[in-house]
C-alpha cells in the first residue's frame, strides 16, 4: 500500500512541471502569431484611439515578459490558476463558457468512437489470434495496418457520400435533427434525452452519431486489433491455457473467456495512450461532419485570430490528455502490482 501511494504521489508530482512547461509553450506560440487580434476584432478601419483602449483593457499593451510582475505572462499564469482562460475576442464571453458549450459534443463523439474502436478492435483481434495464420487472420492484420493510413476526414467524406447521399440512410452534418429541439442539461444529447425521457431526441442524436463515430472508430481500431492479437498470442502460450486445454475445456471458451480477460490490461493502457490521438482525430472528424465541438471551435478560433479562445482550447485539450494519462497510469498501478517502483 505504501509503495502504491508513493507511486501515485510521484506520478502526480511529475505532472506539475509538465503542466508548467505546457502553459509556457502555449503562451509563447500564441504570442508570436502574426496578425493583430485587436485589429481583427474591431476591423481594420477602427480609429487608433479605440484600438489602443481595447488593447489596454485586454492588457495587451503590457510587455510580454520581463523581470517585473506586471507583464502578460504573469497575468496569464495567475489567471490560469484562478480557472480563468480569458475572454473570447470574437464572442465576447469567457472562453471557459464556450468550452463548456462545445466540449460535450466532442465528448459524446469521442465516447462512441472509442467504444466502436474497442469493441470492434478487440473482437476482431481476438478472432485473428484464435484463427492464427488463416485467411481471416491475414485480412484482419492487413486491415489493421491500412487503418493507420486512412485519413479520417476522407473516410468521413466517403461514408457521407455512400451512406448519407447515395443511400440516404444517415444525416451527414450536425448533432441533431432540425425538428428536434434538444433539452440541454449535461450537453450530451443522448444522456439528456434519456434523463428527460425524450426518446425522439435520443434517437435523433444517435442517428447523427453513426457516421462520425464510425469514421473515427475505424481509424482508431487498428491499434486495438494489433494489441489484442499480440497479447492473445502471448497469453495463449501460457501454462494455464495449456492446463485449461488439457482439462478439456472447449477451445472457444479458453480463448474468449480465460485468455481474453488476461489480455485486457494492456488494452486499458492503450485506451489512455490513444486519447491524444482520439482528440486529433476528433478535430478532423468534426470539421468533416460540421460537428459543433472543440475541433470546430479550435479551427474557428484560428481563422478569427481569436487567440484567447485558441489558447484556452489548446490548454484545455492538453490538460485533459495529461489528466487521462495520469488516471490510466494510476489505475494500471492498482491493477498490476509490478508497475510500482
Amino acid at each position: 500500500m505504501r509503495a502504491l501511494l508513493s507511486y501515485i504521489l510521484t506520478r502526480i508530482l511529475l505532472t506539475i512541471p509538465m503542466i508548467f512547461i505546457l502553459l509556457t509553450l502555449v503562451f509563447f506560440i500564441i504570442r508570436v502569431m502574426p496578425g493583430d487580434p485587436v485589429k481583427s476584432m474591431l476591423g481594420a478601419h477602427a480609429p487608433k484611439e479605440t484600438m489602443d483602449e481595447v488593447r489596454h483593457q485586454l492588457g495587451l499593451d503590457k510587455p510580454i515578459i520581463d523581470f517585473s510582475t506586471n507583464n502578460q505572462f504573469v497575468d496569464y499564469m495567475s489567471a490560469f490558476f484562478h480557472g480563468d482562460l480569458g475572454q473570447s475576442l470574437w464572442y465576447r464571453v469567457p472562453v471557459t463558457e464556450k468550452i463548456a458549450q462545445y466540449f460535450p459534443a466532442t465528448l459524446e463523439l469521442s465516447f462512441f468512437a472509442l467504444l466502436f474502436a474497442v469493441v470492434f478492435g478487440v473482437a476482431t483481434g481476438a478472432f485473428a489470434a484464435h484463427k492464427r495464420k488463416s485467411a481471416a487472420d491475414y485480412s484482419i492484420r492487413l486491415f489493421g495496418i491500412t487503418s493507420y493510413s486512412i485519413p479520417v476526414f476522407w473516410l468521413g467524406l466517403m461514408l457521407q457520400m455512400i451512406f448519407g447521399v447515395a443511400f440516404d440512410w444517415f444525416p451527414i452534418a450536425g448533432r441533431i435533427g432540425a425538428r428536434v429541439s434538444p433539452q440541454v442539461i449535461t450537453g450530451l444529447y443522448v444522456v439528456d434525452g434519456i434523463i428527460t425521457l425524450n426518446f425522439e431526441q435520443v434517437a435523433s442524436a444517435l442517428w447523427h452519431l453513426v457516421l462520425p463515430s464510425t469514421a473515427l472508430g475505424l481509424i482508431l481500431c487498428g491499434i486495438f486489433i494489433r494489441l489484442t492479437r499480440a497479447n492473445m498470442l502471448g497469453v495463449l502460450k501460457q501454462d494455464y491455457v495449456l492446463a485449461a486445454n488439457a482439462r478439456g475445456i472447449p477451445k472457444r471458451r479458453v480463448v474468449y473467456k480465460h485468455a481474453l480477460k488476461n489480455a485486457f490490461v494492456p488494452i486499458l493502457t492503450m485506451m489512455g495512450l490513444e486519447f491524444a490521438y482520439l482528440m486529433s482525430g476528433a478535430v478532423l472528424t468534426e470539421t468533416t461532419f460540421s460537428w459543433p465541438g472543440m475541433g470546430s471551435f479550435l479551427v474557428e478560433s484560428v481563422n478569427y485570430r481569436d487567440f484567447p479562445a485558441l489558447q484556452g482550447t489548446i490548454i484545455f485539450i492538453a490538460l485533459l490528455v495529461m489528466g487521462i494519462s495520469l488516471l490510466v497510469d494510476i489505475l494500471y498501478a492498482i491493477i498490476d502490482p509490478r508497475v510500482r517502483y
Binding site: 495496418i145 485519413p151 476522407w154 491524444a276 478535430v283 489548446i314 490528455v321
Partner: protein, 303 residues
C-alpha cells in the same frame, strides 16, 4: 567510416531476409508502391496530360457541344481518366503534381525531426543526470500534446508556406526520435563492448559515434518510415483544415477541403482520388516501416 557503420546493419538485413520471408514481401510491396509514386511525382511534368491549373473542361465541353455550363465537373471518361473538378482542372494531373507537395513536406519534416531528435536523444541518454532529466521532461511535455493540435497552433503561428508547415510538423515528431534513441542508448551503454572501448581509452565522442550510434540506426530507420507516414496524414489534415499551405498549390489535402462541398451533389471523383492517394502513400511508408520493424525487432518474432 561511413561504410564502417553502414555495413553492419546491411549485412544484418541480408542475413535476416531468409527467415522473414513474409515481412520482406510487405517491405518490397511497400517499396514498389512508393517507387511508382515518387517516379510519377518527379516526372509529373512529362506524365501529366495537362497542367495542374489549366481549365481543360471548358474547351472539351465546347468541342463536344455538350449542353453544360463551362467548367462543369466532368465524370471520369477516356479523355480525363479521373474526371475534372469545379474549376475545370484535370483531377489526374492535379494528383500527379500534388504528390510533390505531400512528399516534399512530409519527408522534409521527418528529416528535420530526425536531425533534431537523434542528437538530443544520444546526448541525453549518454550523459544522463540533470541534462537528461530536463530534456526528458521537455520532450515528454511535447509528446503528451495531441500532435495535430500542436501542429495547428504552430502552423497558425508560423503562417502559410511549405517551409513553415514542414517545421510545424517536424516539431511534433522530435520527441518520437528522442525517446527511441535515448532508450536504445541507455541499454547499449551498459554493453560489454562499450565498456571495453572505454577501457582502451576511447573518448565519449568516439564511443557515441562508433559504438552507440550504429546500434541505434536500425530503430531510427523504422521510426523514420513510420514517421513519414504519419507526417503525410498530418500534412493532409492541416491542408484539409485550411491551415498551412498556400491555397493555389496543387495539394491533395487542399483538393479534399475544396471537394467537401460536392458531397451532396454526388461529384464523387473530386474527393475520392486525392484521398485514395494520401492513403496509398501513407500505407507504402507504413508497410516499409512495419515490415522492417518485424525483421529488426526479434522480440515480436513468432514461432
Amino acid at each position: 567510416m561511413v561504410s564502417g557503420f553502414l555495413s553492419k546493419p546491411f549485412r544484418f538485413f541480408i542475413s535476416m531476409s531468409k527467415e522473414h520471408k513474409g515481412e520482406w514481401y510487405i517491405i518490397v510491396a511497400g517499396a514498389l508502391i512508393l517507387f511508382v509514386i515518387i517516379f510519377s511525382s518527379v516526372f509529373a511534368g512529362i506524365i501529366a496530360p495537362y497542367g495542374p491549373v489549366t481549365d481543360v473542361a471548358s474547351p472539351y465541353i465546347k468541342e463536344h457541344n455538350l449542353d453544360l455550363r463551362a467548367a462543369t465537373p466532368l465524370p471520369p471518361n477516356e479523355t480525363f481518366i479521373m474526371g475534372t473538378n469545379d474549376l475545370g482542372f484535370d483531377v489526374f494531373s492535379r494528383i500527379l503534381f500534388g504528390s510533390r507537395t505531400v512528399l516534399l513536406v512530409s519527408i522534409a519534416a521527418s528529416i528535420f525531426s530526425a536531425l533534431m531528435g537523434i542528437p538530443i536523444g544520444l546526448l541525453s541518454g549518454f550523459y544522463g543526470g540533470k541534462v537528461d532529466r530536463t530534456l526528458s521532461l521537455l520532450m515528454d511535455s511535447i509528446y503528451s500534446f495531441p500532435g495535430l493540435i500542436l501542429a495547428i497552433a504552430l502552423a497558425a503561428m508560423l503562417g502559410p508556406g511549405v517551409t513553415n508547415i514542414s517545421v510545424a510538423i517536424a516539431v511534433i515528431y522530435v520527441p518520437t526520435y528522442f525517446r527511441i534513441v535515448r532508450g536504445q542508448v541507455l541499454s547499449v551503454k551498459e554493453e560489454l563492448y562499450v565498456e571495453a572501448a572505454r577501457s582502451i581509452g576511447a573518448g565519449p565522442m568516439t564511443i557515441m559515434t562508433k559504438y552507440v550510434f550504429p546500434n541505434v540506426i536500425a530503430s531510427v530507420v523504422v521510426i523514420f518510415s513510420l514517421n513519414v507516414a504519419d507526417a503525410i496524414l498530418t500534412e493532409a489534415g492541416l491542408s484539409f483544415l485550411g491551415l498551412g499551405l498556400p491555397p493555389d498549390l496543387p495539394d491533395w489535402g487542399i483538393d479534399l477541403a475544396k471537394g467537401k462541398k460536392f458531397v451532396p451533389s454526388g461529384y464523387w471523383w473530386i474527393i475520392t482520388f486525392p484521398g485514395l492517394m494520401i492513403m496509398l502513400v501513407a500505407l507504402s511508408f507504413t508497410m516499409i516501416g512495419e515490415g522492417l520493424n518485424e525483421v529488426l525487432n526479434p522480440r515480436l518474432k513468432e514461432k
